[in-house]
């Protein structure tokens, strides 16, 4: 219901958009298209699968993930997503959802985290991670981001994330800020959230993970960032690497107070 209301609000906003007249027809068309897709997000298929995987005894140790601490205490899923990345004393690292899930899969279920991190997206255990990410993020749907920044490690990751966000390199001179440093811009017809400030409820950081219509897959933030870096013409950021976690910390802190709609549905 909430998602539907939001979709209609987006349509209304598109109609009220004071931009160039010539573009209004196109913008309305896209808003109408998105509104028609608002009900029935295939991400639900991943949420359901993820819930089963969370509770299922798996891995060499044959245990479920119900003992996994995502920051709210062992087994607590609700509210965990909107407070990640955060510092974890057991791993002595600031971790995002995906790196934390990997740690739990290794420590509790006996999986080899490095092996899973090296697995290409959409294969093997990466497929299960997608589903787990959908399930965990969905449990915080409608909640506001409130990443902890009390610890020095968390503040340092924010600062590192900011520096990485603005880091220009590669044959195209791109940084994250090239596309996400200014409000009201698009690539083709896709609006680009300004991630240097809070882009608002259900936008930008608050819209991922998401079901990607183009590939029909569920993308977590790790895959989103990975494909951004591919298009930036950068080398390959490791799955759950500190650079990706630092970036997530930067974007998450900038999005404090905005409402998560994850997993959402995206082009």
């Amino acid at each position: 219901m909430r998602r539907r209301a939001l979709a209609f609000a987006l349509v209304a906003a598109a109609f009220a958009w004071p931009g160039a007249q010539a573009q209004t027809g196109t913008a309305d068309g896209i808003a109408q298209y998105r509104a028609l897709l608002a009900d029935g997000n295939p991400a639900e298929l991943w949420e359901a699968k993820g819930e089963l995987l969370w509770k299922q005894k798996r891995g060499p140790k044959n245990v479920s993930l119900e003992g996994c601490d995502l920051g709210q205490g062992a087994g607590v899923v609700k509210g965990a997503f909107v407070e990640l990345p955060r510092y974890f004393a057991d791993t002595k690292r600031v971790q995002d959802l995906e790196s934390r899930l990997l740690s739990c899969m290794e420590a509790q279920q006996g999986f080899n985290a490095a092996e899973i991190a090296a697995t290409p997206f959409g294969r093997g255990e990466q497929l299960n991670l997608e589903a787990l990410v959908a399930y965990v993020s969905a449990a915080s749907r409608g909640m506001k981001f409130r990443l902890p920044q009390a610890r020095a490690e968390e503040r340092q990751m924010f600062e590192a994330g900011k520096r990485i966000f603005y880091f220009r390199a590669g044959p195209y001179d791109f940084s994250c800020a090239s596309c996400h440093g200014e409000a009201g811009k698009r690539i083709r017809l896709q609006e680009l959230p300004d991630l240097t400030r809070n882009p608002g409820d259900g936008v930008g950081y608050a819209a991922w993970p998401a079901y990607r219509l183009s590939s029909g897959e569920l993308w977590g933030m790790q895959r989103r960032l990975n494909d951004c870096y591919r298009q930036q013409r950068f080398p390959f950021p490791g799955y759950a690497s500190d650079a990706t976690i630092a970036l997530a910390t930067f974007m998450g802190v900038k999005s404090q107070g905005s409402v998560s709609i994850a997993p959402s549905i995206k082009r």
Binding site: D39, G40, P42, E44, L45, A48, K49, Y211, G216
Partner: protein
Amino acid sequence: MSDPMRIRAQVQGSGAVVRVLMSHEMETGLRKDAAGKTIPAWHITEIVAALNGQTVMTAQWGTAIAKNPFTQFTLKSAKAGDKISISWVDNRGDKRTDEAVVA
């Protein structure tokens, strides 16, 4: 093994709106893989929807139904607790049936 469907059936007036999401590749048979080899068509061919065991709607699908298909239809007369079941068969002969209760 195919993943379960998501079926939602909500009472609306004297009937009910049924929304179904299915997990399926719906491969067209026109795409090529990284090595340039054509990926064979793999898609749902038939759907059967039943209310309390009685067929109420059927469908035949080709390759142009989108991946992870979504379908919505409306039962003229249904009440909370009625059982709705959806079955699909694909061109490989894989099949799946899932059930939901009208709420």
